[in-house]
Symmetry: C2
Subunit: 535 residues, 2 copies
């Protein structure tokens, strides 16, 4: 439908136009000592759009980017959009082979890459004949001029700025985000303009952002398009503060010197924050934190809230443009004891206020499970923030949309108050002697031990029970924690059949977004055997 | 388009469903000693929908309501919507003849009315054959059982609740709001679900509402559907506090005992608030006020801000679902002196953050006027919050949409920073012997004369006083009204210096949108002289 007197296609490109009009002189993007005002940010975006056009990128063409959280990465959320091109953000931890797969599958015509990833790019150019142009972004790492193509910062001044964003139908594709692909090949989640626009507003409303917001980029911008916050922060005229990598000391420094009001991250980043030596004597008063990506342990929430921050616990998937639910605070909760408050806030909650009305927990016949806080079912979603489908993968799309709902693959219970609480990924449920054990439930208990920094629990083979829980523990540095202590601690607090039979200590494998990779732990334990998969 | 896995029609009905799910026990509506929780509010809405259905009201049928700000009036914003019926809110100050016209023009099948307006209704029943049912709302005034039909509160318990809102296409009509129509016939502004949904979110975002919001209904709910705040407050799970009439003492009392955080009103209500004896020793700290409806004098803004409230100055029209612009605060403004701050905040500002990108100030060739703060032009708008058109009036719609933009009929300048400032109404202030006279105040008094159909008051030259008020009166046809009678009528009712010195009879010059063109009257009177402009 065309824009007219009474109709505007929803498009996040409009947010930048508006903020550049209203706040031209206000800091839009801060990166180290560099500060771009909204007028400058828009100017750079217009030039990026023009540069891409000059490189032969047109409407509907795919443009990939491989970069940490830099100004170029923020500009990429608006530049291709301006000419109707489709952004393909790439996970910076992937190897050449995986990235080559995504570039080829998405049919990317151009790849913008931070020179930090030069080696990865060198390893794939031969395999990606469709990529016509490589653009180097020499932001923090040395340049890599051996990879033929223009350099980002020299490209912009030479470009013809695109002053008017092209008009898109609001259901037109603006981005394809590939899932991490723990099994088989990564799948490309299709975002459209309407979903990105509405989810960005949802983020702004739920986390209380406004023109005074200073947002620190602790969340990777490639991940679900930074959960749509690039558009949400820009919509309210807030300030983006860039961050190339997670470093607690640097995060505390930026919070202080830049007056950061908001940030998002996975719970593991929160653990890193409070357990870092840099946390000594630090407070987080006035800071609003949205955490998602994995269920936060109650201990994590109460520790961070104890430092003064306000924590919003969100839940969603790449397939839902990021967050779909929020553990909305009830009037009485502020008076709860910290432990109870942490416990109750670790639930995933209820749909966002910007009506993502489609949230259910269902059994295998798509019937809603009882709201009893006990019956497990699968979380399914519908609505304006559910992807259009997987790119060029009608089979996977049909499977994910079976029964007219998007199947998250997450198992949850629904409490009598309507709040959902994840129990596990379907594949993470441990079935021991016929009983279901939620690995997350066991993890939450172990996290309450004062000497435990992080933990992951998976099912491991057992002759008698089929499988039994095993805990992989990262102890607080210097703590002398034994396996027997961990087991005893859990046996005092939960049914014995749920308690770990084995405990191992050491590092945990993680994704780029800080998620613990349970499948890596599981694969090691199950090598050569067949694990029974539920769900 | 039908709802599906990846698409939900935007519909404010979803806001109530969500808040009733998330905050069932929280106060949704407070009216005197009555408090309805969100579960109860929803239940009443479901029953209202069922009652209307029982009365033969179906999808697309029009349901009118004539009521002050009561629970029934709030319920009316959601009940008809639930069955796809179209709400027609009526201005409680209109007479029987005007309301009969609107009921007939809109083809209303039912009229819900507060018994306070029983006399008005008695005067129209014979003229409105299409109205099949009259529903009395005996809220504050005595019942009026002589008007045949059910009583609202007895209707609800007997009704079959409508548990599921019907699915509407998001561009389907949900309300028709008749403009005040000081001349000729009122025109019906068509609201659709998408516009109401987005504007409600705009209100919530711009005024910083959230689940802790307690919103006092100082703004008439009939006026632009209470600027979409019924849906906005409900979207965030805030609390509505009802108010049958403007009474400063009662407003202060409710602010205090109910912990009011937000309210909206016209500038005249603010003047009443601070100039009331009840204002003695009162503070408004923590209160957010959105004011619109007429340009607030800088004095009003600085006085109210001086009492501690935060003031948002908004501007729009019924045709834009209420506010279209906000005088967005710039980083440096908080440090300005009160007088300068009041002056700068009295500008109408910039488009809302929820991209109402279509705002221009244009000359008669639709070319944007220079951003010089001096060149007058007409404010024109486009976007998702512009009405679909005037109900059953293609000619008026075509005229209002000439050149592909909605013509507001308001004259403004655009400052170098992009902020618009209305001039037309600022010019209406009459400065006589150093005293400010509000032309609207004089007009309101004259309009109370039974023989006056229309009036416009402007300042005309006077040797001694600089200028004095002159009234241009359109008498009721057939009435033998003299200038002396008009002057005498005003002198009995207001300070003598405000009363017109001259009265002329005849037609009034008007814009395409029906607004009186005071500047034409003024130019005739001031031809060859220079008028001092204030503001």
């Amino acid at each position: 439908m065309r824009n007219g007197v009474s109709f505007d296609n929803l498009n996040p490109a409009a947010f930048l136009e508006r903020s550049a009009l209203v706040y031209p002189g206000k800091p839009a993007v801060i990166h180290g000592e560099r500060i771009y005002s909204y007028a400058e940010f828009r100017e750079r975006v217009c030039r990026l759009a023009g540069a891409l056009r000059g490189l032969g990128v047109g409407r509907g063409d795919r443009v990939a980017i491989l970069s940490p959280n830099t100004p170029a990465m923020l500009e990429a959320k608006f530049g291709p959009l301006r000419i109707g091109a489709v952004l393909v953000p790439l996970n910076t931890r992937l190897g050449s082979r995986e990235i080559a797969y995504i570039l080829n599958h998405s049919g990317a015509k151009a790849l913008l890459f931070d020179t930090e990833s030069a080696d990865t790019v060198r390893g794939l150019t031969a395999d990606c004949p469709g990529v016509e142009t490589y653009v180097r972004i020499a932001d923090g790492a040395p340049d890599a001029a051996d990879i033929a193509g223009p350099e980002y910062e020299s490209l912009l001044p030479a470009a013809d700025p695109v002053e008017e964003p092209v008009e898109l139908d609001e259901r037109e594709t603006i981005a394809i985000n590939y899932t991490s692909g723990t099994t088989g090949f990564p799948k490309g989640v299709v975002f459209h303009a309407r979903g990105a626009y509405l989810n960005a507003l949802g983020e702004a409303m739920e986390t209380g952002m406004n023109a005074e917001t200073v947002y620190l980029w602790t969340l990777p911008l490639f991940h679900c398009n930074g959960w749509c916050f690039p558009w949400g922060v820009t919509a309210v005229g807030g300030t983006h503060v860039c961050l190339r990598k997670i470093d607690p000391a640097e995060i505390y420094r930026l919070i202080e010197i830049r007056g950061v009001t908001h940030l998002c991250c996975a719970p593991t980043v929160l653990t890193a924050l409070y357990s870092s030596p840099a946390a000594q004597g630090r407070r987080l008063d006035g800071l609003t934190i949205a955490t998602a990506g994995a269920p936060p342990a109650p201990h994590v929430i109460r520790t961070i809230e104890g430092m003064g921050a306000k924590v919003h616990h969100l839940y969603g998937l790449t397939e839902t443009y990021g967050p779909h639910t929020i553990c909305a605070e009830q009037p009485g909760w502020s008076g709860l004891a910290a432990a109870e408050r942490g416990r109750i806030k670790s639930r995933q909650g209820v749909p966002y206020g910007i009506a993502h009305t489609g949230l259910r927990v269902v059994d295998s016949d798509m019937a809603e499970v009882p709201w009893d806080g006990e019956t497990l079912g699968e979380v399914v979603m519908r609505g304006n923030n559910v992807m259009t489908g997987y790119y060029n993968d009608p089979q996977a799309t049909a499977k994910a949309f079976a029964g007219g709902w998007f199947h998250s693959g997450d198992l949850a219970v629904r409490h009598p108050d309507g709040y959902i609480e994840l129990r596990d990924r379907a594949k993470d449920i441990i079935i021991s002697g016929g009983e279901n054990i939620s690995s997350q439930e066991v993890e939450k208990v172990i996290m309450d031990h004062p000497d435990v920094l992080e933990v992951s629990v998976v099912g491991v083979p057992d002759e008698k029970w089929g499988e039994v829980p095993k805990a992989f523990v990262v102890p607080v540095p210097g703590a002398g924690l034994s396996a027997a202590q961990v087991i005893a601690f859990t046996r005092e607090r939960m049914a014995h059949f749920k308690c770990p039979w084995h405990v191992a200590f050491g590092e945990l494998p993680k994704t780029a977004t800080g998620k613990i990779q349970k499948f890596v732990l599981r694969e090691r334990e199950w090598a050569g055997r067949e694990k029974r998969i539920q769900g």
